[in-house]
Amino acid sequence: MGFVLNIIVSGLISGSVYALLAIGFSLIFGVARIVNIAHTAFYMVAAYCIYFVTHKMGFHPMWGMVAAIVMVTLLGIICYNIFINPIREHEGAVLIATIALAMALQEIMVLKFTGTYLSVPSLVKGYLLILGVKVFYQQLLTFCLALLVMAVLWVLLMRTKLGLAIRSTAQDKEVANLMGINEARVAMITMGISVGLAAFTGAVVVPLTILQPHMWMHPLIMIMAVVVLGGLGSLKGSFLGAYILGFAEALVVFLAPMGAFLKGSVALSIMILVLLIRPEGLFGVSFEEER
């Protein structure tokens, strides 16, 4: 019984993390058609930002979280305006620019904090014993905050004027432009929201993981799988896909021998199997072929 609960807890946590990251990734792809490889690099920067504020400056982790989210969102918008916006018509160039940006962020973190493993104290201490399994309050907090932020995002997208603008730009850029929506500004705001989500994820998950400059690689691969599995640009798909892959990972880690090595492979194999049956992902709309 114990390990079933373990699987559920770990699946829910990694599922929520992937969901938050994948929704941000999906959002900016839907609105601006940018495949942002640097998305999880921002998540890493946010995590380091908390480390800096709590360990080097000695503030409470709460302030670290706030500072991380604000600073990284600003950083994301600045990077977008300098490096990505001028070359947006060239799809390949944007791709390379984001890869190079991710590499640059990683190297800056290596220079600043060295490549050693670091950790950050959790926001709330203590744990709950359920059926003999330790469930840390931090885990519960991460899960609840993730759900809360996703709910806020849903309200923002579905109930506000900005959300309407974002959704219509995602559906058809030209028509949205004709209807008087400033497409470039919507893209910039979406980039801000997307990076903000990544920063928030980094902020809530950092006490549960180990900090190192390469920590962006694994989540990046996973959210790409999630996004393809759920259907590009579909937020509902990203949400469900994230939990499917999160649980798949948890199951493999706890049940299979050599599970830690195989967790990525199994999750990605699931993605490929789904794609064989439904090439446009679970909830994807097959895009009209652009000519």
Binding site: E89, I96, A104, I221, P279
Partner: protein, 346 residues
């Protein structure tokens, strides 16, 4: 004797009328000559090593361009072919004792099979879906490599395989001649009928299909060809470094290939090759600032992309040459009339 003189004269005419009139062709000829004559002037082991590795990676970058540039099948998992080639060659050498001239082509055939295996599910996808799905394959293989440490050596890789050749100069020549040969073949392929169909698939797949061409078969062919060339480069790498490790399958390896190709300019073949010959030695040159190396590399790539989003070499070529508006033949930018049809150039 007359025959030899005739051919010499013909060679001279071609050189005068076709090569020396265009700076890009002069540069290409010089590039061939310098690479082939380099060991005559210097025997510096370090320099030869860098250029051997550069040549190996040039094959890899050009093979990515053949698949993703020409056919438009964005492949983010090109490290798969490289890794399969490297591991295939290493396993065959270590367990079957086959020498390098046998293992490298066999490893490349393994990469062709890998191309078929990933090509078949991926043919139904296009664009970003394809890019993100192909990213998964090397990672899946890497999981398998880690899960079978007895066969593949796990994290340490397979070490102690045979040398590419007895001496540094010999390895250098093997790598450089293979690179020049394979890249010329790739360039020829893209110039042939097949290459034109590849290009057409990239521009408008629907139109190609409606012209009665089986695009599926051609896309699969592109996957296999690209896999073969990348596999050769993987095999050369394994035998030159004498180790085939999981680093050949890493995500950063796949990204590196894409960076080289886009930096040099896709849909050209010569672009990625030139980009590797600039970026790889540059990375070595920057080793004096070990900590800042990757950061500066990323910075250079970002800056170049801001000013020439189509890649470095097409940009340079447009600066020194222009196309005749009437007969579409390229001319030096200094000329005022076309060298063939004498139409005024604007």
């Amino acid at each position: 004797m007359d025959l030899i003189l005739f051919y010499l004269r013909k060679l001279f005419t071609i050189l005068k009328n076709e090569v020396l009139v265009l700076p890009s062709r002069v540069v290409a000829v010089l590039f061939f000559l310098i690479l082939l004559l380099l060991p005559v002037f210097t025997k510096d082991a370090y320099l030869l090593r860098i250029f051997t590795l550069t040549s190996i990676f040039a094959i890899l970058a050009a093979s990515w361009d053949l698949l993703s540039g020409f056919t438009g099948q964005m492949n983010f998992g090109h490290a798969l072919f490289f890794g399969v080639g490297a591991y295939g060659a290493a396993l065959l050498n270590k367990y079957a004792g086959i020498p390098p001239w046998g293992t490298i082509p066999l490893g490349a055939l393994g990469a062709v099979v890998a191309g078929l295996i990933i090509g078949i599910p991926c043919l139904r996808l296009r664009g970003t879906y394809l890019a993100l799905t192909t990213l998964a394959f090397p990672i899946i293989l890497m999981g398998i490599v880690f899960a079978l440490p007895d066969l593949t050596g796990g994290e340490l890789g397979i070490s102690g395989i045979a040398r590419l050749a007895g001496s540094r100069v010999a390895s250098y020549y093997i790598a450089v001649v293979t690179m020049l040969g394979l890249c010329s073949i790739m360039w020829k392929i893209t110039d042939s009928n097949t290459g034109i169909i590849f290009h057409a698939i990239r521009e408008d797949e629907l139109a190609v299909r409606s012209a009665g061409i089986n695009t599926t078969r051609y896309k699969l062919l592109a996957f296999c060809l690209s896999g073969f060339f990348a596999g050769v480069s993987g095999g050369l790498y394994a035998h030159f470094m004498r180790i085939a490790g999981p680093s050949t399958l890493e995500v950063s390896m796949s990204f590196q290939v894409v960076i080289w190709a886009v930096f040099g300019g896709i849909v050209t073949i010569y672009g990625p090759v030139g980009a590797v010959f600039i970026l790889y030695p540059l990375l070595e040159l920057l080793r004096f600032w070990q900590e800042y190396r990757t950061l500066m590399f990323a910075g250079v790539v970002l800056l170049i992309l801001l000013y020439m989003p189509d890649g470095l070499f097409p940009w340079l070529r447009d600066k020194i040459e222009k196309e005749c508006p009437r007969c579409k033949i390229r001319n030096v930018a200094m000329r005022h009339t076309c060298r063939v049809c004498t139409a005024p150039l604007d």
